[in-house]
Subunit: 222 residues, 2 copies
DNA sequence: GTCTATAGTTGGATAGAC
DNA sequence: GTCTATCCAACTATAGAC
């Protein structure tokens, strides 16, 4: 464990803090617990980070980056329906596979909103998610040959809000299936927010989507 | 301050704890801080409550009851559109008027999900909201002469999820107007989940609603 | 019933040996 | 750079005086 460059040591400690906080909650992520998890002594943490809050901010940044990355990793598909369905399914699977991390995200948000030492953490979390989703929505327009009928940012905020709500409810009652159904229902709603783009290569198939959706009316269950 | 029945003293302490926690966050609601806020000495709190967690559980119950009550207090209106619009507007106003309490609700939820001592708090919060909304949805059916085309519970869960998501985003970025717009957009979506009931007294007017909504497509902004 | 005093823990941060 | 020892603050909880 000895003789390690500071930069490397920092990532080691951030990973240890992430493990502890995901497993036992943000309150359990004390400097002592993180040091023990990383197998280093107490002083090392204070040598690598100014104080506990700087360590927690680094952990929050790591989680946000991870969330943003998971938004980018979306399966490709030819039509809008299949694309949204697979995107939503994959995204939900990523959530329920990391309960501790998901919960930690909300703990970090509320902590940031209370304590000024945690400064911009909450804003960075949401700004990161909103921005990544804007890019994602633009990519879909290209890939599926559609145009969104509401502004990117507005739609991005809606997606984050619905996912947050479904994730919170799932954290509380643990019902995987209800959550998945809610996400799929939301995907159907999203279809109604798209219209075939003028320069679409397969405008006919896409037109079919928008017509169906207007008739069937999207059910947005949870 | 002296000579007060225990039951009365308990509500006094719960109110003090609520004030402190709303103002400074759940971590700041220590036994000491609550005692100081209530103007009693440290020992009194431990005399009225078994331990700190019992006090916090009582605070959580008070908040949940308050939330449930705010769901019941909904302005009356003749048609579905006006009813949903006023309900949503009033509800949102209640949220942004109590930022601290709203944030405390999420702090209590995450705390409950981590610490077994806080036991059923999170479940009680959501079960309470879901149940109250089920009753609300049934009342609307009577009042507006409609039938919901999805099960009560499912729709109730959707409402809680969307409100949670919008409230969280508002807590982070503080944009009252975007939040209000999101709520109103969601109200328009809810209209598409209703159909005129067979025994409606003014079936013609209600039919108009469902036809409009199917054509205009609900925009659910945030 | 109420208050003071204090026990017993925990955790952030630092000083100083190695 | 790393570890041990230690300080100091804040908190829960209780014991015992009044």
């Amino acid at each position: 464990m000895s003789r390690m460059p500071v930069a490397e040591r920092r990532v080691q400690l951030i990973e240890a803090a992430l493990r502890v906080a995901c497993r036992d909650g943000i309150d359990a992520a004390t400097v002592r617990a993180v040091a023990a998890e990383a197998g280093v002594s107490l002083g090392v943490v204070h040598y690598c980070f100014l104080d506990k809050d700087e360590l927690l901010r680094a952990v929050a940044a790591a989680i946000t980056e991870q969330n943003v990355a998971s938004i980018r990793d979306i399966a490709e598909a030819t039509d809008l329906h299949g694309l949204l369905e697979s995107a939503v399914t994959n995204f939900w699977a990523g959530i329920i596979a990391n309960r501790g991390e998901q919960l930690l995200g909300y703990e970090l948000t509320t902590t940031s909103l209370r304590h000024s030492e945690m400064g911009h953490v909450a804003i960075d979390q949401y700004e990161g998610a909103w921005s990544a989703l804007e890019v994602f929505l633009q990519d879909i327009e290209q890939g599926a040959g559609i145009r969104w009928i509401v502004p990117y940012r507005q739609l991005a905020r809606t997606i984050v809000a619905v996912v947050d709500g479904l994730a919170l409810a799932w954290l509380v009652d643990g019902d995987d299936e209800v959550g998945r159904a809610g996400m799929l229902g939301f995907a159907r709603f999203l279809e109604t927010q798209a219209t075939p783009s003028a320069d679409s290569e397969n405008a006919d198939g896409e037109l079919d989507v928008i017509v169906r959706s207007a008739v069937e009316r999207a059910t947005l269950p949870a």
